[in-house]
Symmetry: C2
């Protein structure tokens, strides 16, 4: 083995990172600008690049280099050092990747790209039966993937998928947190809606053209600290953020004339992801764990923090409202800060997850978690999905789903094979709340500054405590390191109750 095994390993990781950015561009373009007739070859392109990336990730040389690094005490002597952690995560990633046959990776990429087009179409036409065969295919391929990974000790097949997005997490443990959280949230929602008085949502009825919303969205993300020389904002059906590569982070959003805050908070949400991506040290560590995010739960903690803890605060509107009135017009001039603060914190039994308020949002996630777990376990068949979705939805949220477009067809995830992904949304909310309490303790003038449009102290705290470390820490470890405590549902419940009860007068 050459003495510079680590250097060689990093070089290979960089090459892989370069190609992963190509894959990300193919996907971003498919969602934003690709004309529909391009879908056929696009599926082949995604498959070709995914295959290539997989081949590079699993080449025996990578395994040899990792082993050589592991055996070198200069590199791994201190197991908590950045280098040792980089090597640990490379090992984890290599061991996982080598369990998947190349043919399966190629098939997942190709069918995923096709199924995504089928989903777009089915969603537009509210036609679940048209999507069902594609979901069957993706579910079968995803189960095959889970079986290649193998059931983790004491776990279930679903955990093998979950582990890709939230390393070491287990469905049973998540269930144990979700169940009581769900009960507390249901009680809170019931109290607010049945005993309280909802703030008026009148400001949200202003009709605002998409171009003005786009201009305002760009203004806000720049104010939050998003570097538009190293990123951009575009329009899609399903908002997302893609950290394509070093210096290239793409956000997407969608506009409707009414309820301009749906797009605004969608944009701020993706911006939160984007700020994390821009803060990761990709310049030095592209393709390495040290240049990558910790987990989807931590990623989501960033997006939800900027969307909810910042964006739905009274202080945010103190700063934002005059700018919004100037840029958006359309009658918004009639409303004051308290009215915007109230309107953007109303709680509703609504159908669309990405537009749900903070209190009901996690109920939407729990529904999906239960359903996808059952799909993977084989206790729920794809053909029964709409019925079960609608039934459970009514039980959880107390309203009848009017159609599949606003029901089980609303999310893109399953069409891509992203199963085991949804619970990370609620984990993200929990992490965000727990970090937020610590941030406010660390930065006493934070909220007062926000009211003046000063977001740099928050961003630099996040950069320093989270972003700059890449994947050096696991999510649970990071949480303990920052807050001194394991993850708990209490901070989120404190946040929601202390904000919503006064607004609803209960």
């Amino acid at each position: 083995m050459p003495s510079d095994a680590y250097g060689d390993l990093r070089k290979l990781a960089h090459e892989i990172g370069v190609l992963q950015g190509v894959d990300a561009l193919l996907n971003w373009d498919q969602e934003t600008y690709m004309p529909p007739a391009g879908a056929g070859v696009r599926a082949e392109q995604c498959s070709a690049i995914a295959t290539l990336v997989h081949q590079l990730r699993t080449t025996p040389r990578v395994g040899e280099l990792i082993a050589a690094c592991e055996a070198d005490p200069k590199l791994t002597g201190d197991p908590t050092s950045a280098t040792a952690r980089n090597i640990r995560e490379m090992r984890r990633s290599y061991d996982k990747a080598t369990k998947l046959p190349t043919s399966l990776v190629a098939e997942l990429a190709k069918v995923g790209s096709q199924a995504q087009e089928a989903w777009k179409d089915a969603r537009a036409k509210n036609d679940f039966p048209a999507f069902a065969p594609w979901l069957e295919k993706m579910l079968a391929l995803t189960r095959q993937k889970a079986e290649c990974y193998g059931v983790p000790k004491g776990g279930e097949l679903y955990d093998a998928l979950l582990d890709e997005y939230e390393p070491d997490a287990r469905a049973a443990e998540i269930e144990a947190v979700f169940k009581p959280l769900g009960d507390r949230l249901s009680t809170l929602v019931k109290t607010l809606l049945e005993k309280g008085k909802a703030p008026s949502d009148a400001p949200l009825h202003c009709k605002i053209p998409a171009e003005r919303q786009h201009a305002f969205g760009n203004f806000v993300i720049e104010a939050l600290g998003f570097d538009t020389k190293a990123g951009r904002l575009d329009v899609t059906t399903h908002p997302f953020c893609s950290g394509l590569s070093t210096g290239d982070t793409r956000l997407t959003t969608r506009y409707r004339d009414e309820k301009f805050t749906d797009a605004l908070y969608g944009t701020m949400h993706e911006c939160g992801h984007g700020l994390y991506e821009q803060g990761l040290p990709k310049g030095d560590h592209l393709g390495e764990p040290l240049g990558d995010s910790i987990s989807l739960g931590i990623h989501e903690s960033q997006s939800r923090m900027w969307e909810n803890f910042v964006g739905r605060s009274r202080e945010f509107w103190q700063w934002a409202l005059p700018h919004a009135q100037k840029t958006l017009g359309s009658g918004l001039e009639k409303f004051g800060v308290d009215e915007l603060y109230g309107a953007t914190n109303t709680v509703q039994r609504s159908f669309i997850r990405v537009e749900a308020d903070e209190a009901t949002y996690n109920l939407h996630v729990m529904l999906r978690f239960g359903i996808e777990r059952a799909l993977v376990a084989g206790t729920l068949a794809v053909k029964d999905l709409p019925g079960v979705w609608n039934e459970r939805f009514e039980k959880l949220l107390g309203v009848k789903v009017p159609d599949d477009r606003r029901g089980c067809l609303q999310d893109v995830h399953w069409s891509f094979g992203l199963i085991g992904y949804f619970p990370t949304y609620t984990l993200g909310n929990l992490y965000a709340a727990q970090f937020w309490e610590k941030i406010n303790a660390d930065i006493p003038g934070l909220k007062a500054g926000m009211a003046r449009g000063e977001f740099a102290p928050l961003l630099s705290w996040l950069r320093d405590k989270i972003h700059v470390h890449g994947k050096r820490f696991r999510a649970g470890e990071l949480c303990e390191r920052i807050t001194g405590k394991p993850l708990s549902a209490d901070p989120l419940m404190r946040h929601l109750e202390s904000k919503l009860k006064p607004l609803y007068g209960v």
Copy 2:
């Protein structure tokens, strides 16, 4: 050898075609939406994909399969059959590709991507010295490429480059056509400008916002037959068309408030390229010569036909003006068809090639042809480029170049290493004129139909005679096949004289 060598060869060609589309997307995105800070990794991405494509194109298995096909009389017995021609062109392409070392291909892609960013910057800042070292590098790499190809018999080093864009063309032969054409054009321009009276260009002074121009551009290209389900129109610094892949053809244009016809004709020009790309049988023949265009000269004949022979005709304005007035507004309502026809056919000694009128356009091309030929021959140094450009420009067009932005920095080509490309623009004009005479003989009611917005007969003629054949015929062969004559400058001169002299009253 397996009996299905041809099938295997086609499969490999398809795989290469799929990846070439990825490369095209990387380039398209760099020109349209990529944030500036993404340029560093983008260069590496372009290089990685170009390397991969080159490796696949030059793998010995391709050579073996081609040889097996060549030896099979069922495939090549009739040398003019589509299959035999497909194999002939695959041989040509393989022999050329195997002459280039992979390292050079990677370097050309990487430095080209970087040099393109440097060019954008230098052009914006009018700073030739900042671009000069990049041009030096690209010129050196391009000369290296030419040397790998080798000087064709009886030719010069420049011919090795030219041959990539216009198979079998020779600089000396082109010079022999260009010289007298240049003289005739100079005489015509002199006559018009010194003895004639220019039509008023008043309609072009209407100030029209970019969004309305974009809406009108989209309306026009759809009317011409461009399938927007299989393509789209975006905005860039330097307009281009990229046939990314099957069902995915991208056009770009640029807008200014004044002279809306610059963007309109730019869009129609790229649309002409796009109609060719959409008409190529890529569904069956992606990656094969039969799914590819003949040459850049033929490609340009398509773009210039729609731009000039259609777009600058009186009949076009008969149809387009009412729509333009409705969509563009801004005072255009005051003008009639004759005024638009006149205004879009004024001849001017101007600086920007892509905005030049039909009569002076080829003089701009001849300038570049002479200069790049001297750069490759080594008789002109990069540092002397601006001076020589400005001197020759004044001699050819009779006006002094005010700055390099409007001089030698205006075109993107050289930054990409596209040397040997410019003369194909004038070849395109010549082919377009010669085809146009034949089309009008074949379709007697063509012009009358255009005045009613009927462009389908023209498109279906082009599809039938040119597009559907892919690379089956060489350019000269196609010209003889269609018009019964070799390429001549006469049809272009007839077209220009018969249109411009009456307009100028000479």
